[in-house]
Symmetry: C2
Subunit: 126 residues, 2 copies
């Protein structure tokens, strides 16, 4: 069985879940090269749609993701990574998880506090 990269123009969504707590930390995309790099190196590597290049998560921040387990779904068109995060969070806005906004009625509310200062980690850039 091979991953099916055909449905999203060469990409598959990659869900990133904390291996110990089970918290979903982020969703990114992988092309075949990013998937292979992830499997071979043991560090999560994605494909940045905005920058159109491989994205070694944590390369600039140091917040890399050590991959403990890789699963795929019934249609082989999505990947689920269980990771051990290095550092206090994965989100460029300074949160442990990118999913820090919850729907309350019809509003999205940021319902938790930052775990690090993104300006100190990323400087001016994301």
């Amino acid at each position: 069985m091979q991953l099916d990269f055909s449905k999203l123009d060469g990409l598959v969504p990659a869900i990133v879940q904390h291996a110990q707590t089970g918290r979903v930390l982020m969703l990114a995309f992988m092309n075949e090269e990013a998937f292979r790099a992830t499997a071979e190196t043991g560090y999560a590597t994605f494909y940045s749609r905005s920058r159109q290049q491989l994205w070694k998560k944590g390369e600039s921040s140091g917040h890399r993701l050590i991959v403990k387990d890789i699963a795929t779904d019934c249609d082989a068109d999505t990947v689920l990574l269980k990771v051990e995060p290095i550092g206090p969070g994965v989100c460029h806005e300074g949160y442990e998880s990118c999913f820090f906004r919850r729907l309350k009625g019809e509003e999205w509310i940021a319902a938790e506090t930052r775990t690090f200062d993104p300006a100190a980690v990323y400087g001016g850039a994301k």
Copy 2:
């Protein structure tokens, strides 16, 4: 803040996580109508890319997903649902989770047993 449906031609990925155990059960897609239906009814509703129509999860199988919480990420282009599943599993192949295959070396291995008989639940169709 509004969800950003522009990056995938009107869709956002929707990660579905078991509200109690934290297991990631499936990934599907939502258009704006599916998102609104999910938020308003409290049952997970997706957009089927293959059938090109709204997909009320569990409508045929009875295995509906009661939505307990909805989150979005920093870029507002992905949704995370925490759900209470009705029934023994969400996967049309008869598993609790669609993510039943794990990477071992270079092979994807189905590493668990089915929780229901898909032929009995879905008949000949998915």
